[in-house]
């Protein structure tokens, strides 16, 4: 029996690894980053001195605890940093790491692959100076630098306010926070958000802090275009459809997060459509056990619920893995973890209500707006694929006009392509289809 393999060393992967070690196993932990922590607790390179409280804000305690616990594992795990799992086959997983390509016999697999920003194209979104919300946060966390001196934060989701707050605290000027959702959406979500009162309070605090510091906050916004050779401003419509312009030298944009699911796809996990998260997600039971033999999922890669939920999910999935290996599992603890996950899920559902996806955003997009950056596929070309070529679903649109066929293989543009496709056909999103994952999940060198 080969050792269990944990893919990803964010909160879910770290927590899973700790649980497996506790049970006397020596798991492999494979992570793309140089240092464990994931995106949320990404660590700066050695020599950087910004303290955790500044890096991670209110979550600093959890971040430091996870870093320390992981570092203390030492050689009780087989740790492979800087390493990409680029393919998963029935008997083997394939790696690309600092020493080149490698292959491992496959043991039980626990995928904790995390999430990236959900992006939507808007005219000018590929200009230098436009970042994803998560990317702008990483710049601050990992490199101690801001994406601009005068930054507009635009989009929706909890990250919008958190990152704006972090930028303001770090000394950047926040030119505006432009939320595509309505204030009433947050109010409607309150009963669900009450599932995690501490987090709710924190969200309210960021908002209040930004207001108290004179940051303009607008709701029901639709971004129209980013202008300038390098960014000089953002044009947007307010809730009353009036055009406004905010000058800035950088824009951070994002519409919540999307799960990274390619490896689950390669591992043969079936997918189901999650209407709230507007994404096809790997199927799992409440503990993270997938229908594919010996494949488990945890954290934002299974369903976006945030870092604290990821830590809980990592332990729960590891316990499921251990139970399946015949280890005795403390059922009382497991039940408590399940109950916590239910609260996290309820809160996450609340965020979907509070920060609804702006489905109409692409309706008025100019034909020459870029949809897929890698292949330079425009919104107009997608319209052509649907109207003239009769693309029957999004994979056919991909086959005909190439969205999602470039370097990122649709990781960045795939959901936007599906949203646009569904909107053009007047179909519910789940009927747009889903871009299938193919190896390699990220580009690998030929030699």
């Amino acid at each position: 029996m080969s050792a269990p393999i944990v893919v990803g060393a964010g909160p879910a992967g770290i927590s899973a690894a700790l649980t497996l070690v506790e049970a006397g196993l020596r798991p492999l932990v494979i992570d793309e980053a140089a240092r464990a922590g994931g995106q949320i607790f990404r660590r700066p390179p050695p020599g950087f001195v910004r303290p955790p409280a500044k890096l991670y804000g209110a979550d600093a305690g959890a971040g430091v605890r996870l870093h320390k616990a992981f570092d203390a594992l030492g050689d009780r795990i087989d740790y492979r940093p800087d390493t990409l799992v680029w393919s998963i086959e029935p008997e083997t997983i394939h790696l690309q790491g600092p020493a080149g390509r490698d292959r491992l016999d496959r043991g039980p697999l626990l995928l904790a692959t995390g999430a990236t920003d959900r992006l939507l194209p808007v005219e000018g979104w590929t200009k230098p100076g436009v970042f994803s919300l998560g990317g702008s946060q990483v710049a601050l966390k990992a490199q101690g630098c801001a994406i601009g001196r005068r930054v507009v934060f635009c989009g929706t989701g909890p990250l919008l306010y958190l990152v704006a707050y972090q930028y303001a605290k770090a000394g950047a000027k926040v030119a505006a926070v432009l939320d595509t959702s309505k204030f009433a959406d947050s109010v409607r979500a309150l009963p669900l958000l009450a599932a995690d009162p501490a987090k709710l309070v924190r969200g309210v605090y960021y908002l209040a802090w930004l207001r108290a510091h004179g940051v303009p906050i607008h709701y029901g916004v639709r971004p129209v275009s980013v202008h300038g050779e390098a960014v000089t401003g953002l044009t947007w419509r307010d809730a009353g459809r009036r055009l406004n312009e905010t000058s800035c030298d950088a824009v951070a944009m994002g519409y919540g997060l999307r799960s990274e699911t390619q490896l689950a796809d390669l591992a043969g996990v079936p997918f189901r459509f999650d209407a709230g998260r507007r994404q096809y997600l790997p199927e799992t039971d409440q503990d993270g056990r997938s229908p594919a033999a010996a494949v488990y999922l945890a954290g934002d890669g299974a369903a976006v619920r945030g870092a604290a939920a990821a830590e809980t999910a990592g332990r729960l999935a590891a316990l499921a893995l251990l139970a399946d290996l015949g280890h005795r599992v403390d059922t009382a603890e497991r039940d408590a973890l399940r109950a916590r996950m239910n609260r996290f899920e309820r809160f996450a559902r609340g965020l979907d209500v509070a920060f609804p996806f702006p489905v109409d955003l692409l309706d008025g997009a100019a034909d020459d707006t870029l949809l897929c950056r890698c292949e330079a596929v425009t919104v107009g070309t997608m319209r052509h694929a649907v109207a003239d070529l009769g693309a029957e679903e999004v994979n056919r649109a991909k086959a005909f006009v190439r969205p999602g066929m470039g370097r990122c293989q649709g990781r960045m543009c795939g959901l936007a392509a599906s949203e646009l496709y569904a909107r053009l056909r007047g179909l519910p999103l789940d009927q747009a289809g889903r871009l299938r994952g193919q190896a390699p999940v990220k580009p690998i060198p030929m030699a």
Partner: protein, 367 residues
């Protein structure tokens, strides 16, 4: 209006047949299990190559070339077809002697090949590593985008009056006194005096139920593509004796194949990492600049291969009115448009101007 001919399988062969039949005034109904042009027709290498084919394939292949050269006229779009030329590489002097002998053989049939040595290959295409013995150059061969070709023929067929139903899998062909009844998985029973069976890897089993047995299997050609690169190679290439085949598309991506993937589930094949790695090494040996490139995707598909590596094309010996066209064995993309034209002739006139006797299923008959 009821169809007068049912086409089972909407790959490039079936779609081309539907187009030609509709334009000939027939009422074809095309039934496709998935999406038109979505199986082997849509995921193959995209080579539009004649050199290397058996002598008896040449008339059909030359007829196909005439269609590829006139795609805009025929289907309204060029499907990214380019007459880029094709190199058939010879690694050793013995291989070079073999490809040169082939060039002599096919010249009378109308295929003009130029024999060149390794130095000349590198003079024309400096991207090649030294060490090749030589090649034959086929200026009239080319390449096209397989994802576009099948659907383009199907769209043109529909515009010409063909009826196309996708997501319609055929379970059985029942012969009757006045033709055939085609039974689908979703419970349709369609009667027609004539049937074309062009269902790729799925055709062999259907044919066998009618006593038309062609030994073969499914294959899963393993494909790899790089990120877009600066222009490296203007032509398509293959290797004598088997090996890597490769082309650079206009956008800059280098597409290549070698070896086989595997079947992951019924009707779903996936590439194999080890096969891809071997192909990557071979491609980079041939074109050293590729060593610095990244691979962005690998894939495969499901293709029918027959025991002698040649398709079955022609009327069923036991069931007049049933026409077979399957088992294209990994080299059917170039031929497919012409096979559709031939099927149309067979169905409407009972004969064809293109010699196809060598493709008869009777060659497998046990005597």
């Amino acid at each position: 209006m009821s169809p007068d001919i049912v086409i089972i399988g909407g790959g490039l062969v079936g779609s081309s047949a539907a187009l030609h039949l509709a334009r000939a005034g027939r009422r074809p109904l095309l039934l496709e299990a998935g999406r038109v042009g979505g199986a082997a027709s849509g995921v193959n290498f995209g080579g539009v190559r004649i050199q290397g084919r058996a002598l008896f394939e040449l008339p059909l292949a030359l007829r196909a070339r005439a269609i590829w050269e006139n795609l805009v006229e025929i289907v309204g779009t060029d499907c990214e077809y380019r007459r880029s030329g094709h190199l058939r590489l010879a690694r050793t002097p013995a291989d070079l002697a073999a490809v040169a002998a082939y060039a002599d053989q096919v010249r009378p049939a109308g295929l003009d090949l130029e024999v060149i040595d390794g130095t000349e290959i590198r003079r024309r295409h400096p991207a090649f590593a030294p060490g090749l013995a030589g090649a034959t150059w086929s200026a009239g061969d080319g390449q096209a985008n397989p994802r576009l070709a099948g659907p383009a023929f199907a769209r043109a067929a529909r515009a010409a009056g063909a009826e196309i139903r996708d997501n319609t899998r055929v379970l059985a062909i029942e012969p009757g006194a006045r033709g055939f009844t085609v039974v689908t998985a979703d419970g349709q029973r369609v009667a027609a005096p004539q049937v074309i069976l062009s269902a790729g890897a799925w055709a062999r089993d259907l044919a066998a139920t009618l006593g038309d047995v062609a030994p073969g299997r499914a294959i899963y050609p393993n494909m790899v593509v790089t990120e877009p690169l600066a222009p490296l190679l203007s032509c398509s290439l293959g290797t004598y004796g088997g090996g890597v085949y490769l082309r650079q598309v206009e956008r800059g991506n280098v597409v290549f194949g070698m070896g086989r993937g595997r079947l992951a589930a019924p009707d779903r094949a996936v590439p194999l990492a080890d096969t891809s790695i071997a192909a990557m090494a071979e491609a980079a040996r041939l074109l050293p600049a590729l060593a610095h490139a990244h691979v962005i995707r690998t894939w495969t598909g499901i293709e029918g291969e027959l025991a002698d590596d040649q398709p079955v094309i022609g009327e069923s010996p036991g069931h007049p009115g049933l026409f077979h066209a399957f088992g294209l064995s990994g080299h059917g993309f170039q031929l497919a448009p012409a096979i559709g034209a031939v099927l149309c002739e067979l169905a409407t006139t009972g004969t064809t101007s293109t010699p196809i006797g060598a493709f008869s299923i009777t060659r497998f008959a046990v005597t």
